[in-house]
């Protein structure tokens, strides 16, 4: 398949903490006609919680440097993470709408970088939606019939909708179509578009948010939580261990990034995807998938 080339923006959390997600993306995406081109020099996006909280100016400067690096290639940028997506997309909007471009350009110039506004920032879900759910469905070698999927979109994929304009923030359907393309059943649950709680400072509050979502997902009969962000992944995967330890609630719902579910459904060997790194075991899920 010839496909479309994208500049791959790996971010920090996936390559440096959950590389099995990167592996699934590098395997599955080219099979759908999405070619990932590696570019050297990217820094942290920077993440939209702590760095943005310390200085909007520094946040924008670092994001602009990454955008300028991406713009050297004549390609759009692809990210697997809602945090990177939110930062880079919002920053590229700010550079278009506000008068900050000049100041930022002056900072980038000594590094031999410039901003031309040509590279679009895209989330992997957006790129896959452009390939089309029907096309993806036609590529499926292992239909995941009967698998009940609780989608967790993650806040920064949907909001603020004025800036990210990815999907309807109240009734999203893009990821739903992509999950259904693999023959899975999407289950709806209370608090469907709510936050996972990862960015909340207090561990008790943060865990309660994750636990409330897990409970609603469990009640809906979900076999698996599907996310499109490593921060949400961590909050639900490692989070369920913490919830068991501290809140004495044991949900045992495996968590996969959409790229991992896609890789399995396209017929790639699940045992070669490094899924044993997940803290909530996936053996039961793999048995169910067959």
């Amino acid at each position: 398949m010839k496909g479309t080339d994208f500049t791959f923006f790996p971010g920090c959390m996936i390559p440096l903490r959950h590389p099995q997600i990167e592996l699934a993306a590098r395997i599955a995406l080219p099979q759908c006609g999405i070619n990932l081109i590696d570019v050297r020099g990217f820094s942290c996006c920077p993440e939209p919680w702590n760095i943005k909280a310390s200085s909007l100016e520094d946040w924008l400067t670092l994001a602009s440097r990454n955008i300028a690096l991406a713009e050297r290639g004549n390609r759009d940028l692809l990210t697997l993470c809602n945090g990177c997506y939110s930062t880079l997309k919002e920053a590229s909007q700010i550079l278009k709408e506000n008068g900050e471009k000049q100041t930022i350009s002056e900072k980038l110039s000594p590094l031999g970088l410039s901003l031309n506004g040509k590279a679009k920032v895209k989330h992997v879900a957006e790129c896959l939606a452009e390939v089309g759910a029907e096309r993806i469905s036609s590529l499926v070698r292992k239909p995941l019939k009967g698998l009940k999927v609780a989608i967790h979109h993650g806040c920064h994929l949907l909001r603020p909708s004025r800036l990210v304009s990815f999907d309807d923030p109240f009734n999203p359907e893009v990821l739903e179509h992509l999950v259904e393309a693999l023959s899975c059943e999407v289950v709806k649950y209370d608090g469907y578009t709510d936050c996972c709680g990862n960015a909340v400072r207090s561990p008790e509050l943060s865990l309660s948010m994750a636990s409330n979502k897990c409970k609603a997902m469990k009640d809906s009969g979900a076999d698996v939580i599907v996310v499109v962000c490593p921060a949400c992944f961590e909050q639900f995967d490692f989070g369920q261990l913490e919830i068991k330890r501290k809140l004495k609630k044991d949900y045992q719902i495996p968590v996969l990034h959409y790229c991992q579910l896609l890789a399995i459904s396209l017929g790639n060997d699940p045992s070669a995807l490094g899924l044993q790194a997940h803290r909530v075991g996936v053996d039961g899920l793999m048995k169910k998938i067959g």
């Binding site: 440096l16 760095i51 400072r201």
Partner: protein, 151 residues
């Protein structure tokens, strides 16, 4: 006790820039949609906006309730007045950082990003896992460029 912080007042324009702070009519749409407010009544986005617009400096503190914001942007989506409480809160956090009143983890994150270029350091363990998975080596040359631009 209510107190006006004169230093905070000086920074108010930064906070006002973040959202249409004076347009807030305290309808509490943000509060009803806020996931933190649902679990902890001390966190009230409408009160935070009001307090900021009055120039009350008590939110500028490393233990302030502002750090519990989930940055989920529900308030941004639901606010009928375009006040965007989440952006007011981020601006308040910026004011707190500038005046040395932010929690340690905010400072630590900056040090990490500025010294390593990445939020998470590249460890030997992760290098090994990446090799085992057949993934390419991570580019570790970025730190110098980041330092240059942040100076």
């Amino acid at each position: 006790m209510v107190s006006v912080n004169p230093d905070f007042k000086k920074n108010l324009s930064e906070v006002e820039k973040a959202g249409e702070i004076d347009h807030c009519y305290q309808c509490n749409a943000c509060v009803s949609e806020c996931p933190t407010a649902r679990l902890d009544s001390r966190f009230n986005p409408a009160e935070i906006v009001l307090s900021a617009s009055l120039g009350l400096g008590e939110l500028i503190d490393k233990d302030s309730i502002i750090w519990e914001c989930a940055t989920c942007y529900k308030c941004y989506e639901f606010c009928p007045q375009g006040t965007h409480p989440v952006e007011v809160i981020t601006a308040l956090k910026n004011v707190a950082y500038k005046s040395g009143n932010s929690p340690e983890e905010i400072k630590d994150s900056r040090v990490h990003v500025i010294e390593n270029g990445t939020f998470i350091p590249l460890s030997e363990a992760i290098k090994k896992r990446r090799r085992e998975l057949g993934l390419p080596e991570v580019d570790s040359t970025v730190a110098e460029q980041v330092k240059k631009i942040m100076e």
